[in-house]
């Protein structure tokens, strides 16, 4: 049976005045600070939250030039270059720009804010910008306290752990009398668990250091060939337990790079250990070193479980674990690749991957090589 067509509802008639009143109410009632500027960068509107956050009165801000009134500073207190400010970037790119910066209040106090600046475009013409920002002092403080807690707890946990490990080794090695086979097996389990806990503490400490910006990077020339060989050697036992074959492919001439050897080792260990975790028994892993124009790329390729497409953009996120790996490795923390990414950025490198579920993953670690100084032709020609 054909349905009777409903008559179209009459359009609610909104006058321009009503529309403006609605926009004004919206602007004034949002919980974030909002400041609008015209095409000359002059402040045209401020909402009560922005006034409250910054400590100005409306009269002190209206008509003022945005960059000189809303002063943005960096974490160490230096003024952000005007070209690097979100509002300038929004005008230069024509797109919304979101960043965390510090704004100076009228009394000079510095407050961290999460700011999003969008250009206002009317009839295809830029006519101003709007900065919507949120005071994130509390978030910063909670984050700092969390990092401090993890750091303190991790340090405190390490001391008793090293005692457990030392005494377990002494017992197992017979320093305190004969041990039965069953006792030795039990001690091995204790030692393995202690090692795992030590690794977890190291990961947490490293993450805390990265997030608080206190990680120390000490670069020197290292041999990438040796780095790869050392890491693979360290993981030989684990690979043997799962009957996984790790092959190394190196360029014909030695590869050297200037980087922090400990950090680079940590990154590579994590990548290869990850491959070992998620590659089924009898699988294979290939570690290849490639020389590129401005970098050295270490490639870790496995034929493991792979990463599902829908999880790929979250793989470097803290505590993230792809659903398909949970059945293989239930004890993972989801911190490994987050740490790898953080450490890679600390040494100026880059990390990316290609993966297909059920077929395997390939991770690429790129380490920058120092640029060579241009040679003087007159001198080199002598």
């Amino acid at each position: 049976m054909a349905r009777k067509q409903q008559p179209a509802l009459p359009q609610a008639a909104i006058t321009p005045d009503e529309e403006q009143a609605q926009a004004e109410a919206l602007f004034n009632s949002i919980g974030d600070g909002a400041i609008a500027a015209d095409e000359f960068g002059k402040i045209t509107r401020i909402n009560p939250t922005a006034l409250h956050i910054l400590g100005f009165t409306e009269a002190e801000m209206l008509g003022q030039w945005f960059p000189s009134t809303i002063i943005a500073v960096t974490e160490n207190g230096s003024i952000v270059n005007i070209i690097d400010r979100p509002i300038t970037k929004a005008f230069l790119t024509g797109k919304p720009v979101s960043e965390k910066v510090y704004y100076l209040k009228k009394n000079g106090q510095r407050i961290p804010v999460a700011s999003t600046v969008s250009p206002i475009i009317h009839n295809n013409r830029p006519i101003g910008a709007i900065d919507v920002f949120r005071d994130i002092t509390l978030e910063y403080e909670i984050d700092r306290m969390k990092s401090e807690f993890i750091s303190l707890a991790s340090h405190q946990l390490r001391t008793p752990l090293s005692s457990i490990k030392t005494y377990s080794h002494m017992l197992s090695d017979g320093y305190m009398g004969e041990v039965t086979h069953a006792q030795r097996e039990a001690l091995r389990t204790i030692i393995n668990a202690t090692n795992r806990m030590n690794e977890l503490i190291s990961t947490l400490l490293n993450i805390t250091r990265i997030e608080s910006g206190t990680i120390a990077v000490s670069s020197k020339m290292i041999s990438v060939d040796k780095l790869v060989q050392d890491v693979v050697k360290d993981l030989e036992v684990q690979a043997g337990d799962k009957n996984i074959d790790i092959t190394i492919k190196l360029p014909s001439t030695p590869v050297r790079v200037k980087t922090d050897s400990l950090i680079a080792k940590e990154i590579l260990s994590n990548l290869i250990a990850n491959s070992l975790k998620y590659t089924p028994e009898g699988g294979s892993i290939q570690v290849r070193v490639q020389r590129k124009k401005n970098s050295i790329v270490v490639v870790v390729k496995d034929n493991g479980v792979g990463i599902p497409k829908y999880s790929q953009d979250q793989i470097f996120t803290k505590f993230f674990r792809a659903p398909n790996v949970l059945k293989y490795e239930t004890t993972g923390t989801g911190l490994g690749l987050y740490l790898v990414k953080g450490l890679t950025e600390q040494i100026g490198g880059r990390i990316w991957f290609e993966s297909e579920e059920g077929k395997g993953s390939t991770f690429f670690l790129s380490l920058p090589t120092p640029k060579r100084a241009p040679q003087n032709k007159a001198i080199s020609g002598q």
Binding site: F40, I82, I83, T93
Partner: protein, 85 residues
Amino acid sequence: MDGKMTLYARVVRITHVYLGPAADRFIARQVQNHLHKQPEELSEKDLKQLIDWIRVAVSLLTEDSEIVEEYVEQLRALVKESQKV
């Protein structure tokens, strides 16, 4: 001599007075970001839109709106020139 210069080069020449060595890169980015074109593809009909974007961007680099207007006026003169031709 101006007749032999591309439109892009003329915009950069005017901008150089105000932004110095940053002029070329600044205009190139404006053309690429807002007009989605390569600098050498800049045409007379793009000028009006380009000037709008240049004005807001430069207004955040200096508080002196007279200088901004003076600069924009010189760019607008290019539009008039091109209309005469």
